[in-house]
Every structure is written in C-alpha cells, then in structure tokens.
C-alpha cells in the first residue's frame, strides 16, 4: 500500500484518480504521447469536503482571472504557467469545511513565508516536477529521440524529485515535513535503490584512468590506459558474453536484437517497481503550484508596496478589523490599489455601504469577497493584518448584465436575483450584494430592500450591501429597527473627492455632479455636442 503525498490536508487525501493516473503515466512513459496527463488528473481532482458552491460567487468575483493573473508561479523572475488553473480554482472556490484543514494550510504557507530555504527547496522541487512532467508528456519534443535515453532522463528526474523531498525538507515543521518523510520512505525501498543503480550503471559502467601525452604544439600525441575499474557491485553490470547471450535471448523472445533492448528491459523493470509512487508526483505538483501561487501573490503585492497576511481566524461575534485591505484584481491589471481599513464590531452583521459613484464601493466588495476566499483556503489575504470568521458559504451578486434571452424587465430581474439569493443562502454565510434594488423606483425599491435586510438578519450572515438609497439608509441608521445593521460610507477628502477609505456612517451624497463633470455630462458639455450635431446635419443637407 502506497501512502498518499498530500501537502494541503492534515489527514492526507488521495484527490486524483490514482489508478487512472498510474495507467496514464505508464503509457506516457512507454510512448511519450500523453500530453495533458498531469493537467487532466488535476483538473478532475477532488477537493476536501466544502459547503461552498463556486457558482454563487466565482464569476462575480472574477476568481478565474485572479488565479490566472495573481497566482502565476514566479521563480527567479521567470513566470511558469499553471499546470492546472482549474485545480487551483477548485481549491480556492471550494474551501475546506473543516477548520483543521485551514489551519494545516496556514501552517505550511506560514513556514514557507518565513523560511527562504524551504521556499527555495520547494521552488527547486517544483522545477523538477515541471521537467519530469515535460519529459513524461513529451512536451519538449524529446519523444522522437532515443526512447531509452528519454526514459532514463525521466527516471533521473524521478530520483531527483525523491532526493529533493528527502533532503530538502528535513527542517520543515509544518505539513512540508511530509515531503521529507515521503522521500526517506521511498529511498529506503528496493525500487529506489534499483533506480539509483540503474542510473549509475548508465552513467558509470566503468572508470578508466588515462595518461595523456601532449606534444609541444599542445596537441594530444597519445594516451595510455593505466587502469580500468568496472562497477562490479552494480547489479546491472554483467560480462560482455552474458550481455551478448541476453541479446540473443531477447531476440528469440520477440524483442529487437541489440544493447538498447537490454537497457529497455532493465528500465522497464525499474519503472515497474517505482510506478506506484509516481502518481504522487501529480498531486504533489498541484499542491506545490497552489502553495507557490499563494506566495507569488504575496510577491506581486510586495512589489507594489502592499502587504499580505494570514489573518486571525475568530468567532463570528468577534470584531472584524481588516487593515490595509486592497483589491487584488486592480493589482493584477497593473493598477496600484489604495489600501483601506474595514472595521466592524462583529462579523455576523449586515453592513450597508454608501458613497459616491466611483468611490470604490464595488472594489471594496470584491476585496472582501476575495479576502474571505483566500482566508478560508488557508492562504495569504490581500490585507496587512486582520481577522476573519469562517463562513459557511459565499453568495455574491455584483453585476446583473442584461441577457438576450431575458424575459423579465429590470425590476423582475432584480426580484429574481433576490429570490435566487435566498434559495441558496445557508446560515452564517457571507453575502455580498452590489446596489440592491437599483432597478426600480426608490419608493418601491426601498420597501423590498428593507424586507431583504430583515430576512437576512435571521440567517446571521456576514453581509455587505451597497446602495444609493441614501435617505433610506440614513433612516435605517437613525431608527435602528434592525439590530445587526452597520453602516460604512466612502470617506471624502478635499474638494469632495473620494479617498477610497471607508468610515462608519451613511453618505450624504452620491456626488453625481462630480461624476458628471468627470465624464463630460454637464449642461455646457451636452449643449456643445447638440450644437455640433445640428451644424453637421445642416452642412450635409447643403451639399446635397
């Protein structure tokens, strides 16, 4: 029975289809025509049990883009495309329900972040795994070369990976220690010793001591063999006549006649002993990619002068204090986001966010959502420090684009959105809603809005809702009829400009006039456009 190599769970899980992967690796090793084997296995890998449903938030939070842009593995300045972004996406979008798993992962990434040596070793291991994958899948085109040479290189890389695991993570105290345990266990086995013997046999069948004579012109005049030392202890070494007879034997048995066929049989035998261990490499590559992707996100933020952290995990009734929170999607697109602080007295509250247009409300919601995802996945979050309470689910509704097959009008669509929210909202989940009930007239919209907020309270969610119903929000703040309702507003600076910071309270204005000036929708701007169009129409008529 082969143990499972899993870096992401305290109790190791076999998440890939082990037997199918083993068969695919065997075929790839034999033929070198199995491109996509690693990606396929990881794409279809299972994840730890989770209560989250990716379809309720992944699209609205642009999670695939976040993975693609922020979690690219970078080693020594070189980017490495993910083997399976679907695997990383699945790990993020389906965070473990068991807090122990979260703590396990936090321990691993924390150790990697604080130990440059271990990170370096993990990066080296990742590169070895990538080379192993490339050779096995024939991605580097060497499948057309000598099959024995290709298979020996694959076996050499397998040994390199095992050696790296055994020797590079001896000092690890987190889940990374499993790598050392795995490496040592495999090294202690006969298949590994045979592998090492075979590679030594390939590289060093014998050693010659030569004496070389060099002439006055620097050219070699001759040489003399002083000694020949054959690696007689190597079990693969046999006498020349025995090798010749073995070739005859193989020919009679239906193989080709040649030294290459002997080596092919030995390679096959060594691979056969090792092949039960090799599927672990696939899952390991996915895990390492996930961890290094998290560190790559930290590096990206650090390069932009932003800090990331592992937040404290607290109970829902504990205060929320995210310091230096920033939007990673802006960072991914080359925009340096302005960090802000989000502070509430407890997590299980409904926070109404108000403020001017383009004041950063939607970006704040994205940041909070992604922070919750990363925090619950056990990874660094886009905040300098803070505390998170694990949520039972995440429902996000930021955008409601018009669809060609849409049967309802704006109000009907908004009502359907609200219905869908309550259809799948478990107690204790995080809810993020952007501009609730913005699609209808304020008086009717406010009534529905209040109903939604009241109903949410019964589910004790961590809710963040933005709205432009400023008077309505001010009334709710004033009347305090809903107990767990909190209010954040966009802070305005000099000249009533948004500072992208958020402070308690309800905004007084949406600053539509500011947006109108910024976007050229003032009276004077529109008048000049109208005049120009009339002038152009008259000129065209005169030409006719």
């Amino acid at each position: 029975m082969v143990s499972v190599l899993d870096l992401l769970h305290p109790t190791p899980l076999r998440r890939i289809d082990y037997e199918e992967t083993k068969l695919a690796m065997t075929l790839a090793f034999a033929g070198g025509v199995s491109s996509g084997l690693f990606a396929d296995a990881l794409d279809h890998a299972k994840v730890a049990p989770s209560t989250w449903e990716p379809e309720t938030f992944a699209g609205d939070l642009f999670l695939p883009q976040f993975v693609a842009l922020c979690m690219k593995v970078r080693i020594d300045g070189r980017e490495h495309p993910l083997t399976s972004s679907r695997h990383v996406l699945a790990l993020l979008a389906r965070p473990p329900a068991d807090p122990a798993v979260v703590h396990h992962r936090r321990g691993v990434v924390a150790e990697l972040a604080t130990s440059p040596h271990l990170r370096k070793e993990l990066e080296g291991l990742y590169l070895s795994l990538c080379r192993f994958r490339a050779h096995l899948e024939g991605a580097n085109g060497d499948a057309k070369l000598d099959p024995n040479r290709r298979q020996l290189e694959i076996l050499q890389l397998a040994k390199e990976i095992i050696d790296r695991c055994a020797e590079g993570f001896v000092t690890a105290r987190s889940g990374l220690a499993r790598l050392a345990a795995f490496g040592r266990r495999v090294q202690a086995g006969e298949p590994y010793r045979s592998l090492a013997d075979l590679i030594r046999y390939d590289e060093r069948l014998a050693t010659l001591n030569l004496k070389v004579r060099v002439g006055a012109d620097g050219r070699i005049r001759g040489f003399e063999i002083l000694a020949i030392q054959e690696d007689a202890q190597n079990p693969f070494v046999s006498s020349p006549w025995r090798r010749w007879l073995a070739k005859v034997e193989l020919f009679v048995r239906g193989f080709k006649f040649g030294d290459g066929e002997i080596m092919a049989r030995l390679i096959d035998a060594v691979f056969e002993g090792l092949k039960d261990e090799l599927p672990s490499f696939v899952q390991l590559l996915g895990d390492v990619e996930f961890l290094l992707g998290s560190l790559a996100f930290c590096d990206l933020a650090r390069d932009a002068g932003l800090a990331t952290s592992l937040p404290d995990l607290v109970a829902p009734d504990q205060p929320r204090a995210l310091r230096g929170l920033f939007n990673p999607l802006l960072l991914a697109h080359g925009i340096t986001p302005v960090p802000c602080d989000v502070v509430t007295d407890r997590h299980d509250t409904t926070v109404l966010v108000t403020g001017p247009n383009s004041g950063g409300k939607t970006r704040l919601l994205q940041s909070i959502g992604l922070t919750q995802i990363l925090g619950q996945a056990g990874l660094f979050v886009p905040a300098r420090s803070g505390a998170l309470s694990l949520a039972s689910g995440l429902v996000v509704s930021l955008i409601e684009e018009a669809k060609a097959d849409q049967t309802e009008g704006r109000l009907g669509t908004e009502l359907l959105r609200i219905r869908a929210l309550f259809e799948r909202l478990p107690p204790g989940a995080m809810v993020i809603l952007d501009e609730l009930c913005s699609g209808t007239n304020p008086s009717e919209g406010e009534e529905i809005f209040e109903l939604v907020v009241q109903m949410l309270e019964r589910l004790s969610p961590q809710a963040f809702i933005t709205t432009h119903f400023l008077a309505f929000a001010a009334r709710l703040e004033r009347e305090r009829t809903i107990a767990n309702l909190r209010f954040l507003q966009v802070e305005l600076g000099a000249e009533q400009r948004a500072t992208y910071q958020f402070v308690p309270g309800v905004a007084q204005t949406s600053l539509a006039a500011h947006a109108a000036v910024r976007l050229g929708v003032t009276r004077d701007q529109l008048m000049s456009l109208v005049d120009r169009n009339i002038h152009l129409a008259q000129a065209k008529s005169a030409r006719r």
């Binding site: 065997t26 298949p191 045979s194 079990p235 693969f236 046999s238 020919f251 049989r265």
Partner: protein, 326 residues
C-alpha cells in the same frame, strides 16, 4: 524460464520484475506483450523453418549427389558390360565395312559370282548368315562421312527382301506383294530379314560403347544431364549394333547416277545402274559383284508414281537370282 538479464547480485524483487519484463508476465499484461509472444513464436518458427530448409537443402543435395553417383556408376557399368562383349575385330567392323563400300563404289571391277551362290541352297545358306545391309548412292559411299549419311537413310527395303526371299514370278503383282511388305515395315519385315542388320545400327550404336561417351558420363554434372545421357543410351540400338558389327556378310546396293534424259518418278526412281555386292567379311572375299540397270518405265501407271523404287529393287533382286540360277 529464467532470463540471462538477471544475476545473483540483483534484489529478488528487481530480478522478478526484470524477468516479468522479459517474459511479458506482468499483472497488466497488455496486447503488446501478447503481440511480442506472437513475434517470438513467429521468429522461432522462422528460425526452425530456416534450419529445416538448410538441412533439407544440404541433405537433398547430398542425396542427389549420391544418387547421381550411383546412377553414373550403374550406367558406366552397363556400358562396360556391353563393351566387354565385343572383340577387337568387332570394334573395327564399321571401319572394315566402310573400306569395302569405298572400294565397291570405285571403278567397277566387273561382274563376279562365287560358285556357292549358283545353287539356291548355297544362296540361302550365305544370305542366311548374319549380315549387314546398306544401300546408297555411289557418290556418298566413297567417303567415310558419306557412308554414315547413306547408312542413316538406308533401311531394309524391297531389294533386300526380294534378295532374301525372291518372288515366284517377275509380274508386277508378285513384285508388288513384296514391296508392300517392305514398305509396311514392322514385325513382318523384321521376321523375314531377321539375320540382317542395317549398317546404321552399328554406326549409331557403337559410339555409346566407346571411351569418349563414358568420359561424358563421368563428366556429367547433375542428375538432369546424367538422366539425359542415360536416356540417350537406352534409346541407342546397342544390341542391334552389336549384331551389326558381328555380321559375317555385307550386302550392298550402290546406285549409280542416272543419265538424266527421262523424268524421275515421284519416289526418286529413274533409270540407272545399280551395283549389287555380297562380301564375305571374315575372309574378305567378294561373293557377288554385279551391275544391272533398273528402269521404271515398264511399270503400270497405277504403281509407278508411288512404288517405282520398290518394284525396281525387287525386280533387280529377282533378276539376280534368275541369273545365278542359270
């Protein structure tokens, strides 16, 4: 079956895997290993077939060579056996007969009749001895090569038959009866001229018993050539040749040229002189030398075109007997 790729230094588990790799007895044996076993069997069959084929070729060649040698020895022994029955005189018989024919074809030495031929009994006795017969044109019988060519075309004919057994009368009907017998050939003619052999039998058959032909047998390469030689030998008139060379009497008919003034008949017959000679070969004595003219012009129109030569020959033999009876 263990494999030579395994040695004692190998871990047993590794050795088992190497053996499984070679023998194809893996747990997940695939169609590839089955295919390899088929290839192995095919190669084994091919090797066995090659070995068998080579062995078959070698043994067949040896058997053929042995068989050829055996057949060669048998043939040579047969030749030797036949040759051993001939005396030195026998070997020289053809040469001796040729010299007689050349002499008889030369300037005509005049008629001569031995007294022993004057009586019917004497003729019967002399013509009943072993004899050799030849008829040819005078020009052809003057050389050795010509004799061979003439002998090849000279067969037992109406002249010989009527000389041995003359008809009772010289009527065309009586002559025609003998001519029909001669032209029909076969056993009847052979029985009525059993003591007479053609000279051609000796000329054709004797070389098969001579050393040059035995040398050809010894030099023959392969069964095919030897079989051809053997077939030639079996077809050769060896027994008839032996009887021909042992002949005691030479009967020769020598056709002199015609005068060319009258048309030739369809069978080549024309008026011309014919020399008849009977020679006692052991003693070298001419028993009969006679030159008579034949002329088909008196033959009926019905018989002349086809039987003129036969009727003339038989009439000539009748005339010889009639003259000897006088």
């Amino acid at each position: 079956m263990p494999t030579l790729l395994v040695n004692r230094r190998m871990n047993p588990a590794l050795a088992a895997r190497v053996e499984a790799s070679v023998t194809g007895r893996k747990r997940d044996a695939t169609s590839t290993s089955r295919m390899r076993r088929l290839v192995s069997l095919a190669r084994l069959a091919l090797v066995l077939a090659l070995v068998f084929a080579i062995h078959a070729v070698i043994t067949t060649r040896q058997r053929i060579r042995t068989d050829v040698d055996r057949r060669r020895a048998e043939l040579l022994e047969t030749v030797r056996t036949h040759a051993a029955t001939l005396t030195v005189e026998d070997w020289k018989a053809v040469e001796r007969i040729e010299s007689w024919l050349v002499r008889l074809s030369g300037a005509y030495e005049g008629d001569r009749v031995d007294d022993r031929l004057r009586s019917r009994e004497g003729r019967t006795r002399i013509l009943g001895r072993p004899a050799v017969y030849v008829r040819g044109s005078i020009d052809s019988l003057r050389t050795s090569d010509g004799v061979a060519a003439a002998a090849a075309t000279s067969s037992k004919d109406a002249l010989l038959l009527c000389l041995l057994d003359p008809p009772a009368r010289r009527t065309e009907a009586a002559l025609y009866e003998r001519v029909r017998t001669a032209y029909a050939g076969g056993m009847v003619l052979e029985e009525r001229s059993a003591n007479v052999r053609r000279l051609d039998d000796a000329i054709v058959g004797l070389p098969f018993l001579l050393p040059p032909w035995s040398d050809r047998v010894r030099a023959a390469e392969g069964a095919k050539e030897l079989a051809r030689l053997k077939r030639d030998f079996e077809r050769a008139p060896i027994e008839r040749a032996k009887r021909a060379v042992r002949a005691e009497v030479l009967v020769a008919a020598i056709d002199e040229p015609g005068d060319g003034k009258v048309p030739t008949e369809l069978d080549g017959e024309r008026p011309h002189d014919v020399r008849i000679a009977i020679v006692d070969l052991p003693s070298g004595e001419v028993l009969l030398r006679m030159r008579r003219r034949v002329d088909p012009s008196s033959l009926s129109d019905a018989k002349r075109p086809m039987y003129a030569r036969g009727l003339d020959g038989c009439a000539l033999a009748f005339d010889v007997h009639r003259e000897l009876d006088r």
